[in-house]
Symmetry: C2
Subunit: 267 residues, 2 copies
């Protein structure tokens, strides 16, 4: 991770309360997960009039691995720009937190080209319509075509102080988190079902021995994150799954096991 600006909170300055070797999603994985969970972005292209002026426009996208595909009208400003110069980038931003700068965002930098090969067009069509079924209406129009942004570099910002240029091959090889679509409902469910027991996990498996409360704030394939109430205020901690987790059922089973194990550890 490169040096970043922003204002890290106390939780970033002090050593974490959990084991620092706890596996966490890489920036490549976080970027792929973010892109897979959203379907609109901002495209930057080079205008033709005035020539070379950077131009930001709204796009809907689907993904072909890590590369975005688009259905574009020849009448759109950005399509005319890309016909003259394929250089482009696309920003995709989350909107979870009411603090806009706490949200994650990714910029994909590359070159965008209209797909002319019949197989490539058919593949892009299938991927795009799976995410944007309403676009089937335009997909057959003569002045609409499928485009693909071939990604050459990736900038990831995960919120305050969490940012890096992600290595292209790592980005393309990374898999979106299999829990991404269910993560928000899992957070609600875990807090509802295990409100009292989660604090035991924090006391047993982290240095927050005086924990008096714990709220789950995130779930991913490698573990889950909590905000734990300590004598020194609220602090973030991260706990790891003991086995492979790919589904909501896996999460439920793992959390139940961790709580049972915490009870044994605490006697």
């Amino acid at each position: 991770m490169s040096a970043g600006h922003g204002a890290p909170g106390r939780g970033d300055r002090e050593p974490p309360l959990h084991d620092v070797s706890t596996p966490t999603p890489s920036h490549a994985e976080r970027a792929r997960t973010l892109l897979a969970s959203i379907r609109t972005g901002a495209l930057a292209t080079l205008a033709t009039d005035p020539a070379g002026h950077p131009y930001a426009s709204f796009v809907t996208y689907a993904l072909d691995g890590g590369h975005p595909v688009f259905l574009m009208s020849e009448l759109a400003e950005h399509t005319r720009h890309l016909r003259a110069d394929p250089r482009a980038s696309m920003l995709v931003a989350e909107s979870r937190s009411p603090d806009p700068l706490a949200n994650g965002r990714v910029t994909l930098v590359g070159e965008a080209r209209c797909l002319v090969d019949a197989d490539q067009r058919a593949g892009a069509r299938e991927r795009f319509l799976a995410v944007h079924p309403g676009a089937a209406f335009y997909a057959g129009f003569g002045d609409f075509g499928f485009w693909r942004l071939e990604v050459s570099s990736v900038r990831y910002i995960g919120g305050y102080g969490r940012m890096s240029w992600v290595e292209r091959d790592a980005f393309l090889a990374a898999e979106p988190d299999p829990l991404a679509g269910e993560a928000e409902s899992l957070v609600v469910r875990l807090n509802h079902e295990h409100a009292d027991a989660l604090v035991l996990c924090c006391r047993a498996f982290t240095r927050a021995k005086d924990a008096s409360g714990a709220v789950v704030t995130g779930v991913d394939r490698y573990g889950f994150e909590l905000s734990v109430t300590t004598g020194a205020g609220a602090r973030p901690v991260r706990l790891t799954w003991s086995g492979a987790v790919r589904t909501a059922d896996d999460v439920g089973r793992e959390v139940t096991e961790q709580i049972a194990r915490a009870r044994r550890v605490l006697g």
Copy 2:
């Protein structure tokens, strides 16, 4: 309005059921209203490495009239880009409708410069912190500065088939809709309080003489829009206020008067 692509619905192809001279917000006014109701956007700049590549990044903004102002870190990618080349544009997009292409969006094209004059900096600081009070924490940091995008041209897209390049002076002179902040709650309130009576307005003041239902879909300083159920299906209509409307109370009074007048017209 310039020719646009997209897929106009039947309501756009057939002559409207209401008086076509009904005043509606101009694209300049719609763009100013949209910008005033949102506080994050996508900035397009020209990268320094590779030089001249269009780069899209996330920004928070406030407004100085129609010109956006920003608080930027010298460490941010876009700040380094703008130091080398001030050309930029900013996309701001609504996210009301679940159909992303039905939402409005604006691209402001211009040049962005760091404010060095003390009065300009103080003005930008006041405007920015009024919208982003949490940024007061950074505003004093030595590597943060206030920037302003001087707008030279404006692209407005209001959804399917409603788009134009807005004349710069008209954009700068236009006023955001005074009802914008309350429009959504007003729509809910009008439909709740006048569910049965609204259909009378449609029968009395539009060509939808067979109207069997009416739902308010929008409210602005010049009038209100409804989806009216006719023998030929749902159709959009627009009705005009009889006097000046700037507040929610004005809207309530006007709608009550229109319903009374519709009852008289229909006998």
